[in-house]
Symmetry: C2
Subunit: 189 residues, 2 copies
């Protein structure tokens, strides 16, 4: 990291890459993208975000207060470990085409039911208070997945409004899947 | 946490509770167990472990070196976010009885293929070097799940031998599912 530009092996649509792109943008770290058309399971990229946080502490993506940090990590783990692994492509392939959509919708709604309740007690402008945190990096890609799988977001007013406030921020705009080097032309915006 | 004994809402068999029990034992934190017969998804309890680490830093469960910390978190996330969510009870119920065992075995073996390769470069006595870390707290419950689902561990010599060295440690003994207040008599040891 110290020597030379970091390289991000990235897939435009992957939630995991997307989270890291937002973190890099927030911290103002210049990097090279090497697009790889490969989707990795799980929330492993949270390890990269924690690494960035420790080596580039400004701006902080984790609050200073241990209880608030725990809230941020709980929300991040709920999304990256509880929702996203159940609706990623390799799992959907395994469950078979007929029930894919229902499966993904179930995974997302049961996760969002828990998430909406948590956010109602933790959210300010963003997921936890009024500063952008790691939880917000996880939220935006997950809401995009919910929209992709046509989940009705009406029961989740806090999720929806936090998401809207995040999407207008510069770091979230430049890292969006519709603006990556490997984004197909028809999905560009 | 500062005032009074912490309470752990725990289910003897849950990997998530188990990880936290090991962390509490390693840090020598006295706590009360309230058994709840409820299985929560995902790796959310990693947030509790990070909170413990920040409020009770000794002994450390994360190495001081940022690159080693990243390895520990990568391994923890691979297990808690990449393997365990796919083979927990609520998911197995959804996939149906006929393919439950195959499904769980596939989730574990594809995860263990990646994990074995990672451990071959990071492991010393334990998952990352020679100190017990958060990665080890995740490994032991996951290997127990592999055994429960009759996964052949022969292709995973590093995973197996690290697991064996961990199981003899006091903190891993007292936190084991076979020794919890809610362990059914027939499963006690």
């Amino acid at each position: 990291m110290q020597a030379g530009k970091p390289i991000l092996y990235s897939y435009f649509r992957s939630s995991c890459s997307w989270r890291v792109r937002i973190a890099l943008a927030l911290k103002g770290i210049d990097y090279e993208t090497v697009p790889i058309n490969l989707i990795k399971d799980g929330g492993q990229q949270l390890a990269i975000i924690e690494y960035l946080e420790e080596t580039r502490p400004t701006p902080r993506l984790l609050p200073q207060d241990p209880k608030k940090r725990a809230s941020v990590r709980m929300i991040s783990d709920l999304i990256a470990g509880g929702i996203q692994p159940l609706q990623n492509l390799s799992v959907l392939k395994q469950v078979g085409e007929e029930i894919q959509l229902t499966w993904a919708q179930n995974a997302i709604t049961s996760g969002f039911n828990a998430l909406e309740q948590i956010l109602q007690s933790t959210a300010g402008i963003y997921c936890v208070g009024d500063e952008v945190t790691m939880a917000d990096l996880c939220l935006v890609p997950q809401v995009a997945n919910a929209e992709r799988f046509k989940v009705d977001l009406t029961p989740y007013p806090t999720i929806s409004s936090v998401n809207k406030r995040l999407l207008v921020l510069e770091a979230f705009q430049v890292s969006h899947p519709c603006r990556q080097p490997d984004t197909p032309t028809e999905l560009r915006a």
